[in-house]
């Protein structure tokens, strides 16, 4: 069982290398690093802070975008090219196929997080860069698992990418939305407000508050403690498990 999952994961990694994902990642790093040097040059004071903050915030978004689109495009291609049909014709449980693909994508997310964190070492120090990088790997892990689930469920690039994007934006802003909902400026007792506030609270139970993950402030001021990082890692594992199980659930119900 483990050999089959590992084989699928290995081929997922090979596919990433052959479809020039590393080249795309390096290009994104080079472009954003160049842009961050431009920001550094035009800043009158605190130029290093400006550069670090710009690179970290822009790279975080870019890495999530690259990881999500890569996973969805890869899964959709397998569905439409008939690769999945061939795989399922073999003695391969569907759950193993998803587990193998997910393991491969998680490894890609880890490598992606390491690659984008390296330029931060001279800017923010190795410890801050390492904590930021591990947190980014956890965040990308959630994005990748969600992308696998959406690719299996929607089977099309456009709706799957839209849902992942919407989920990511909502996850990054859910804390602010909760605060606004909990402390309205006027008419807190109205039915519409109570319904909306209840809905937002319900959403917060199934959406990770990604605004607390991978914060630029860790690079500029005090790095997050390792215990905070452990908590983030545990929460990430939980969400990866939820999305993976949901993807397997959908996969096992599907007729091909």
């Amino acid at each position: 069982m483990k050999i089959r999952i590992a084989t699928i994961a290995r081929y997922t990694l090979i596919e990433a290398v052959r479809t020039r994902l590393p080249l795309l990642t390096l290009a994104a790093i080079a472009v954003l690093l160049g842009a961050s040097f431009f920001v550094r040059e035009i800043a009158i004071t605190e130029s290093a802070r400006f550069q670090t903050a710009f690179y970290a915030a822009a790279m975080r978004l870019s890495a999530a975008f690259i990881a999500a689109l890569y996973v969805i495009a890869s899964m959709s291609r397998e569905f439409h090219d008939g690769v999945l049909d061939v795989a399922l014709a073999l003695d391969l449980p569907r759950s193993h196929y998803i587990a193998g693909k997910l393991a491969g994508f998680l490894a890609i997310a880890g490598v992606l997080a390491i690659a984008v964190s390296v330029p931060l070492v001279p800017l923010a120090g190795w410890e801050a860069a390492a904590i930021w990088g591990v947190s980014l790997a956890c965040e990308l892990g959630i994005v990748v698992a969600l992308s696998v689930f959406c690719a299996v469920t929607f089977n099309q690039l456009m709706p799957a990418a839209s849902v992942v994007l919407a989920f990511y934006i909502l996850a990054r802003s859910i804390t602010a939305i909760r605060l606004i909902g909990a402390n309205p400026i006027a008419d807190a007792s109205s039915l519409s407000h109570r319904v909306m506030a209840g809905l937002v609270e319900a959403l917060s139970f199934v959406i990770p508050a990604l605004d607390t993950w991978t914060r630029s402030a860790w690079l500029l001021a005090q790095p997050a403690s390792w215990s905070t990082l452990a908590q983030i890692a545990a929460h990430s594992v939980l969400f990866v498990a939820i999305f993976a199980a949901a993807a397997v659930f959908d996969m096992q119900r599907r007729n091909f």
Partner: protein, 247 residues
């Protein structure tokens, strides 16, 4: 054709392995418990920082400085209402507030919105120093384009007169409107006369009012009648005060 309750592309729930169902249920349960046990987020007010340099704003606007000016004033306007917390205007750093308003005016010199915010929002706080700071800002910006910005200085004069009870300041603003804003409406250009009258300077007010009526600048019959009555009253006040001085 029979109604299909189940899509052909889906297999029954029984097709899902028991392990998958358990993992999904347990993971969801743990997440729900985690969220239920987590403390609710708390709101923290963040300080309003200084805006970036004007050149930076021009570069960031990609050749569209006016929408960026609008966005910056909306950002400033919403700053008192951060997620989950409402900050009184008086607790804002007025140096930063002024810098944001100034930047918006530099990006969109014809825009009235920043001056409206200065005169109507930020000059209304119950803090005299901050009120004066904002009125001074309105006056400075008025001097850059008097014909377009006179109404906000007129408002500043009213604030100086009624809120600050600073008649000399109100008079200075009213005089500047008369002196520099040739396209200002009559009521604004006549404001200094009424401020002088309120200050007890009946003679000066009568001279100015008489001059205004003689200049032919006022064309409306009702307005001429009103101002003439006012002039007569000023003259009678002037006479009575002279008589009391003589006695």
């Amino acid at each position: 054709m029979a109604f299909a309750f189940k899509s052909d592309s889906e297999r029954p729930l029984a097709a899902v392995s028991r392990a998958t169902r358990w993992v999904l249920l347990v993971a969801l349960g743990v997440q729900l418990a985690w969220q239920a046990l987590s403390p609710n987020p708390t709101a923290n007010a963040t300080q309003l920082g200084m805006p970036a340099d004007t050149n930076w704003f021009h570069a960031a606007s990609l050749g569209e400085p006016i929408p960026l000016a609008h966005l910056s004033v909306l950002y400033l306007q919403a700053f008192d209402n951060q997620p989950g917390i409402s900050i009184p205007y008086r607790e804002l750093d007025y140096g930063s507030v002024q810098a944001w308003l100034k930047r918006a005016l530099e990006l969109d010199p014809e825009g009235q919105y920043p001056l409206m915010m200065a005169a109507q929002l930020y000059a209304q706080v119950p803090d005299e120093a901050k009120q004066r700071q904002m009125l001074a800002f309105v006056h400075r910006e008025f001097m850059r384009d008097p014909d377009r910005r006179w109404r906000w200085l007129a408002h500043a004069a009213i604030v100086a007169k009624h809120r600050l009870k600073d008649m000399p300041l109100a008079l200075r603003y009213a005089e500047d409107i008369t002196r520099y804003a040739s396209s200002a409406l009559h009521w604004a250009r006549q404001m200094r006369i009424f401020i002088l009258e309120d200050m007890g300077e009946a003679q000066a007010a009568a001279v100015l009012l008489g001059g205004l009526l003689a200049s032919g600048e006022v064309m409306d019959a009702a307005e001429i009648r009103f101002l003439t009555e006012r002039l007569e009253r000023l003259k009678s006040v002037e006479k009575s005060s002279k008589a009391s001085e003589f006695r």
